[in-house]
Amino acid sequence: MKFLVVDDSLTMRRIIINALQRIGYADTVEASDGQDALAKFDPAVGFIITDWNMPNMSGLEFARAVRATPEGGSVPILMVTTRGAREDIIAAVEAGVNNYVLKPFTPSVLKEKIDRLLSGTGAAA
């Protein structure tokens, strides 16, 4: 499965990709903001991990844009962000985000959310 990892921080992209490799997902493509991610999004992408606060296009706008595409209706979107206010989380749900991880996170939390989404038990939409 191909993971699309979207974050404006190169360090965070490296951390997330390292964590994915450790849990067995080596096929990754990375993007530095929502616009870049939208350009790299294709039907081969089976899972999206995105930050919220990014220049040019935020993670929230990116999630909405993905949901508006014919092939983006069912791809799981996991948001990994520092934004933890209740209204932010609700906005993410409304934008089509399937689950949410707060930074700083541990790899086990990331794995648990990915496993839940891939098994179809942890998606809100």
Binding site: N53, M54, V93, K103, P104, F105, V109
Partner: protein, 226 residues
């Protein structure tokens, strides 16, 4: 973009300068009192001195009114929000410093544990070795995890830089009130970095907020499967 610490230092230096000018004005006021008495004695001793005094007072009134008006405008630009912002910046810088130290300590501890495991591997039995290698991998993987503080502190520093840029603009506006001809450097317009003003590197805060997120998404999941 200039370093936030540098901008904070400049802002503090500007505020100290304003304080110094106010002190100087107080000292100048006492000298003006003495000068005014001398001037008054001199003018009143001349013929038509009273008319001259009236004209002088009218000129002084006009000048004083202008100064008072400028002071009113400048104080109108400084509100309680500015001191709150300075306090907020101080808190943020403290948190950045603390997060950096915690992450560094965590990394050093992980390196020490990994080194210890690597040294013990030489003496380990075949039965012990797989578990020790797994632990070593876990420690090395954990090292990268500690580096998340970089993303979070970068957001905090961007927040501080944004607050300082705002303060700098206000100070420039105040300078322009007192001296419209002063050449005040305008803030350089760069692409606004995206940041979360409430970003925190505290793991306890993240755990609490993660619980809230899980609760909201669990309800969403139940709604979907219902």
């Amino acid at each position: 973009m200039r370093a936030p610490e540098e901008l904070l230092y400049d802002s503090e230096a500007s505020l100290r300068l304003v304080d110094h000018v106010i002190e100087e004005l107080g000292a100048a006021g006492a000298q003006m009192d003495r000068d005014a008495r001398t001037f008054l004695d001199k003018v009143m001793a001349q013929q038509g001195g009273f008319a001259e005094l009236s004209r002088t007072l009218l000129r002084a009134y006009a000048e004083t009114s202008g100064i008072v008006q400028r002071i009113r405008e400048s104080t109108g630009m400084i509100d309680n929000g500015d001191t709150d912002r300075l306090q907020q910046m101080h808190g943020r810088l403290h948190e950045v410093s603390s997060a950096t130290e915690i992450a560094t300590t965590d990394i050093l501890n992980a390196v020490a544990r990994a080194t210890d495991l690597a040294e013990r591997l030489n003496q380990a039995t075949d039965a012990e070795r797989p578990q020790m290698i797994a632990s070593l991998k876990e420690e090395l993987g954990g090292l990268t995890n500690h580096l998340q503080f970089q993303d979070i502190t970068a957001q905090q520093l961007n927040n501080i830089a944004s607050l300082l840029a705002d303060m700098r603009l206000r100070i420039a506006q105040i300078i322009a009130i007192f001296n419209p001809t002063a050449i005040v450097a305008t803030p350089v317009q760069t692409a606004a970095p995206a940041f979360d003003p409430n970003a925190s590197s505290l793991r306890s805060a993240a755990s609490d907020r993660q619980a809230v997120a899980d609760a909201i998404f669990d309800v969403g999941g139940q709604r979907k499967t219902a």
